[in-house]
């Protein structure tokens, strides 16, 4: 009697597993599909900008005849990306396109995949340089850093304490932009502005909100917050509005127009920027396709055509190489905010 109960119970467990998979999962391989298999691996799937990347990449995949899979961890962490890298390699993907919050942590796993013949392309959040073939940058890093400081200076009238609300302390793109921000701040016209703190919100909306509140508490005379992450700037804006500090504490950084529209209208920020996230995903997929096809090897000066975006060249950018740069940043102001819908 008890043996039967056991068998039933184990069978039940297996059925649950099978049912969940059957209804929700998709097999890693599709029926024979001409074209490459490309895996897009974002920092975290809950963040809207990455969803946009994924959509752009899928569109490129359709144009190129490639299978594009978009999947990743729900919490932003390099370690959480490792199982995805390994599975993609084992399932015979030709390329992994990865944006990571921890440049070094994913390097061993990426190298393992590369040893199995998978091409590695990094975008947005770069990996260790020897772990990827090409890096697709949304814009020139130095420009991003300079612009954000310029926007902040204009809003604070070039004086006061400022703080940076960043994402992860291990994030390559965040640290690069912060480096260029600090460089820009050394210029004489910013001599009355002082960077007092860099806080880390880990690209988590709740943590970012708590960090923003902590900044306001610890530095009551804070003049402005720069947040070079869409999760951070939105959380900071919400915090400022909740505390009634819009206009008293300035805000700028990188943000999505849809997220920030109501704060722009409430005068919480008058200038911030970003780029077209769908285009970034689209371009990255094209780069991946060309690398797998052997047309791009990471040599400086190679050119290729990226569908509707036109021709691109592999360059050295801000000491980083080889890089493909999407273009200059988009700037959002109260005048043009209603024109963008992403």
């Amino acid at each position: 009697m008890r043996k039967r109960t056991l068998v039933v119970l184990v069978g039940f467990a297996v059925i649950v597993v099978a049912a969940v998979t059957a209804t929700l999962g998709t097999a890693g391989t599709s029926k024979s599909h001409a074209g490459y298999k490309i895996f897009i691996l974002p920092k975290g799937t809950g963040i809207p900008v990455f969803t946009q990347n994924g959509l752009g990449a899928k569109q490129a995949g359709k144009e190129l005849g490639d299978t594009v899979t978009y999947n990743g961890p729900t919490t932003v962490s390099g370690a959480a990306q490792v199982p995805f890298i390994d599975t993609a390699a084992r399932q015979g993907y030709n390329a992994i396109v990865i944006s990571t919050p921890d440049a070094n942590a994913v390097a061993p796993a990426l190298k393992r995949a590369a040893a199995k013949g998978v091409k590695i392309i990094a975008y947005d959040g770069d990996t260790a340089r020897d772990a990827r073939t090409i890096f697709v940058a949304p814009s020139t890093n130095s420009l991003i850093g300079q612009y954000e400081v310029q926007w902040m200076g204009a809003q604070t009238h070039y004086k006061g304490q400022i703080a940076i609300l960043s994402a992860n302390a291990t994030s390559a793109n965040q640290n690069t932009w912060i480096k260029f921000m600090k460089q820009e701040l050394k210029k004489p016209k910013y001599k009355n502005m002082k960077l007092v703190k860099i806080a880390y919100g880990n690209d988590d909306p709740t943590v970012s909100a708590q960090q923003a509140q902590a900044l306001l508490q610890a530095y009551p005379n804070l003049a402005g917050i720069i947040s070079p992450t869409t999760v951070g700037i939105q959380a900071a804006a919400q915090e400022l509005q909740q505390e009634g500090k819009c206009g008293k504490v300035q805000l700028t950084g990188l943000g999505l127009p849809n997220d920030m529209r109501k704060y722009v209208k409430a005068h919480c920020t008058t200038k911030f920027g970003l780029w077209d996230e769908k285009n970034l995903g689209y371009l990255s997929a094209y780069v991946a396709h060309n690398v797998v096809a052997g047309k791009l090897s990471g040599k400086i000066g190679q050119t290729f055509k990226a569908g509707k975006l036109g021709t691109y060249k592999v360059v050295v950018s801000d000491g980083n190489s080889p890089v493909v740069v999407l273009g200059p940043p988009l700037v959002f102001t109260p005048q043009n905010i209603d024109k963008f819908h992403f």
Partner: protein, 347 residues
Amino acid sequence: MKALAARVLVRWETLLVAAIVAVGIWSVTLSPFFLRRANLLDLVTPYVYIGLMAFGLTFVVITGEIDISVASILAASIVAFAQIFAHGVGVWPAALIGLAIAGGLGLVNGLLVGVLNLPSLAVTLGTMAAYSGLAFVILSGEGVATFPTGFTKFGGGYLANNELPIALLVMLGFALGLGILLHRTRFGRYLFAIGSNREAARLSGIPVTRVRVTVFVISGLMAGIAGLVYVGYFGSARADAAQLSLLDIVTAVVLGGVGIFGGTGSMPGVLLALILVAEVRNGMQLANLSGQLQNIVIGVLLLAAIVAGNLIAAARTGNRPAKLRRLRKGVTASAPAEAKVLVDSNP
């Protein structure tokens, strides 16, 4: 002959093997890549660190206690190791220091539970938080991710033409060693005795306090070793490492047939359960299920394992398990009288 067959077939471990085969068949339907040798050998590699902690935890659970701080011990010991290494100490001496720290943290647990006789759940709940906090203090939000390849091979390296994972060998080695310790030594028998009836064990001359402290040290050390494998495989040492691994660790232990109230369990069972968990997770990964969704399945598996265990215990003794536990711990006939006084004295 029939008796032998019955003894083999009705064992929990046989069921686990059957489940492993069943899940394997299901995995094949998901992806033809499953049966490739490279994939099969690599199945358990991402979960070896979980298996090692499960082995250590098994010792604790068999004595009737629990240790939920193992993941935090792993985190604290690897960040300590990383910081020491980053300050110039050689990687292997630094790793040994990290191991010593892991053992020390386990010792603290052991002293609080074994000597002061505090309830292990409460203690390890607190130390789980404290050790995690300690890890953050040592390494804040950063991570150390540049370790020499000679070291990372321990958790992430491969032999034999890049296919046989070293981590797998590490896990099997420890399973064997710890299994011998548990099932073939006097020390191991002490554990089962203490878990079945602590008072009787004490009365029969077993050094109960010393043994109870030791199992927590073992649990801590295994967390330290798991940490070394973790760093090798994941490539980085961070304070939030392994934070969400407790679910899989406990599932491996419970699914392995270790009685949650102490006194029963087998190391081969835990090893098989770990392989099963790894296989299920691998299958779900092949099906592109998100990590959170996979956790639902593992959670259900955990619950099912306990319920199954309860039913077996009930069938075996003819009593409800709660009564069985009371009989073991020696509740006296003064309970009714105590009840009356208790109800009257509620504030």
